[in-house]
Amino acid sequence: MTTPLAHYLILAALLFGVGLAGALARRNAILVLLGLELMLNAANLNFIAFWRFSSHPGELTGLMFVLFSIAIGAAEAAIGLALVIAIHRHRRTAQVDRFDSLKG
């Protein structure tokens, strides 16, 4: 185990940036959700890395947080994709810039 903590943090920062840029730049709602999942995963990587490098890794705090975070990410993906399917049924599109009315 020689990789320093900074490398994991930089990887997580790059992953977060890619997810953020994708979520802002893509038009398809599915890809926006995918970008959100990438950002969530970057945060999870930070939790695991800080847990492994902490002075009390026996406490398992970061690990537990990541387990709960993975569960929440799965629930978010399920709800988000169900919303995409429901909107596609009404509007016949999955492009976020065409979801421009609340009713209908």
Partner: protein, 170 residues
């Protein structure tokens, strides 16, 4: 040294998968690349001695979320070639690059991030289970409730609405 090479391989897989997932035109290719990125992250978790989180990541993200995304792509006929990006894609990429630059700058400026980790880490599944049943039992119950609500909500949202009955003639 070997550890560094393994980290570099996993990091390259993760980042390449993420970039490809956010830039490719065909949505099915995007979903497959995202699954690769999630698998690379799981490998990094394993490298960090977090076996349980790594396998949970594999099961949930590579197994479930990727399949769910592929199903949604097929149900919304998104497999056709997409327009590349929204007209304001430059703004999105600029914001992403700025945030990344800020994060990397503050990581580089932080002291004490270059030390070695503690040599031994005990995170067997038995201890995780004990902690889940003692210290984290309330969050566990809340997560169970949340997952049930999400399951019901997803089914209700995606359910086909029944045709509206004709309004009675006055």
């Amino acid at each position: 040294m070997l550890n560094e090479i393994a980290f570099l391989l996993c990091a390259t897989l993760t980042l390449a998968g993420a970039v490809a997932a956010m830039t490719l035109r065909n949505l099915v290719h995007c979903a497959l690349c995202a699954a690769g990125a999630f698998a690379g992250l799981a490998a990094i978790y394993l490298q960090l001695d977090a076996e349980f989180a790594g396998f949970a990541q594999l099961l949930v993200y590579v197994g479930a979320v990727a399949i769910l995304i592929v199903f949604t792509i097929l149900l919304t006929r998104g497999a056709e070639i997409q327009p590349a990006a929204s007209p304001s894609w430059r703004m999105g990429v600029t914001v992403g690059a700025l945030v990344t630059a800020c994060l990397i700058g503050s990581i580089a400026a932080s002291p004490g991030l270059h030390g070695s980790p503690p040599q031994t880490v005990q995170a067997p599944v038995k201890r995780i289970g004990e902690q889940l049943m003692n210290q984290y039992v309330m969050p566990l119950e809340a997560i169970g409730l949340l997952l049930t609500a999400a399951l019901l909500g997803a089914v209700i949202i995606a359910l086909r609405e029944p045709p509206k009955p004709e309004p009675p003639a006055p």
